[in-house]
Symmetry: C2
Subunit: 228 residues, 2 copies
């Protein structure tokens, strides 16, 4: 199992979670972990975790477990974290400001190199150490920083136009928080995150679980651990 046969996307998402847990363990000086312990910290099943790791080739020691630092580096390499990724963010409203200020990105190999907004009222504000720029400077900044990732946090109505501008500027991967399906040219990857869909799924499961107010707990079969 070399890196040739493509790694399943579901596995990639979990590798990112394992990486986070491993980084924490390494920072607290831990030398090795077993699949069981790592799985429970990541909220997954141990066998599934081992299967996920099998996609990177053998990297544990039988009877012992995995070397924390080695595994951390191996996953980081596979995920492409050895070099930092430059990102531009368009739409500096409530959500955009939160994303720009969110430490979780910087810590993990992502760096915002440009914040953009169409509203003159927001242009010029600073978030962290970056100024909010007008849309006109987008192409210039993307070219200068070689940013490959664009994040859209605008209202739905303008998201497709922003997507078009990003792809024309040379961005090749887009994370879209606006609640619309975007179309982009082949060769550009789009990933959609819809916060209200998450809430709605949650509400559905809630409804399904507790159909009857009088009945205390439904079937009692509800899953407890969460997952990316």
């Amino acid at each position: 199992m070399q890196s040739r046969p493509r790694i399943p996307e579901a596995t990639v998402a979990r590798l990112a979670v394992y990486l986070r847990v491993l980084t924490g363990l390494a920072d607290s000086g831990r030398g090795t972990v077993s699949s069981g312990e790592l799985a429970s910290a990541a909220g997954v099943n141990p066998a599934g975790l081992r299967k996920d790791l099998s996609h990177l080739g053998p990297c544990g020691v039988r009877g012992v477990g995995y070397d924390v630092a080695t595994l951390r580096d191996r996953i980081a390499a596979v995920l492409g974290m050895e070099t930092a990724h430059a990102c531009v963010l368009v739409g500096i409203g409530n959500l955009g400001s939160a994303l720009a200020g969110y430490g979780g990105f910087g810590n993990r190999g992502f760096e915002f190199v440009g914040l953009f907004d169409a509203s003159p009222a927001r242009v010029g504000q600073r978030i962290g150490d970056l100024p909010v720029r007008p849309m006109e400077e987008l192409d210039e900044v993307v070219a200068a920083t070689r940013a490959t990732i664009g994040v859209i946090a605008t209202p739905a109505e303008v998201a497709q136009r922003v997507c078009d501008r990003l792809t024309r500027a040379g961005v090749r991967s887009i994370l879209n928080f606006a609640p619309v399906a975007l179309t982009a040219p082949a060769g550009v990857g789009v990933r959609q995150v819809d916060l209200s869909v998450e809430l709605q799924v949650l509400a559905f499961l809630d409804k399904q679980r507790g159909a009857l107010p009088g009945t205390a707990l439904g079937t009692g079969l509800a899953p407890a651990g969460g997952m990316a």
Copy 2:
């Protein structure tokens, strides 16, 4: 196909997307849609859309399509949107403020009835028309409002403690934005949203696509449409 045999979770997530599109169509006075048109607006395959809708029983007219308003109401009913859901939000940092101020929730049958933060500096601030309250008032507010949904937007270190408090207060469904796996008692549903994992998956796909800078477009097989 009554509502007995459980609707697949993947389908539920897409139903929420269809609902959004249908609401837009209805607002612009549209009477009927075909599966093809609705599917393209939602970013999915037409046959898959019809299969999704088949879980609600027949609700279209052959040779014509779906009645926009009827289908909208049918999906809303299935997702449990006929009654508004009361939510509490814990952790009013950057992300929490964005969530509290995000119109996308209120429009879709969710209402924040309480905002909580442990920091005295934040308590007393207002976001929209709600004050930020101290954690001590959590049980009281959950009980008074019968909130069933809790949203966690705290730092990772305290998320599990907040989860425990929410479940003890009576919340039965939790949406967690903190980057840790939570454990909750059976009967409580937890859903995890990890923004940096999304970015990492995107970066991985980016890397895979454009492995060689000299080679223009890799295989040219990259997917274009995004999905929830």
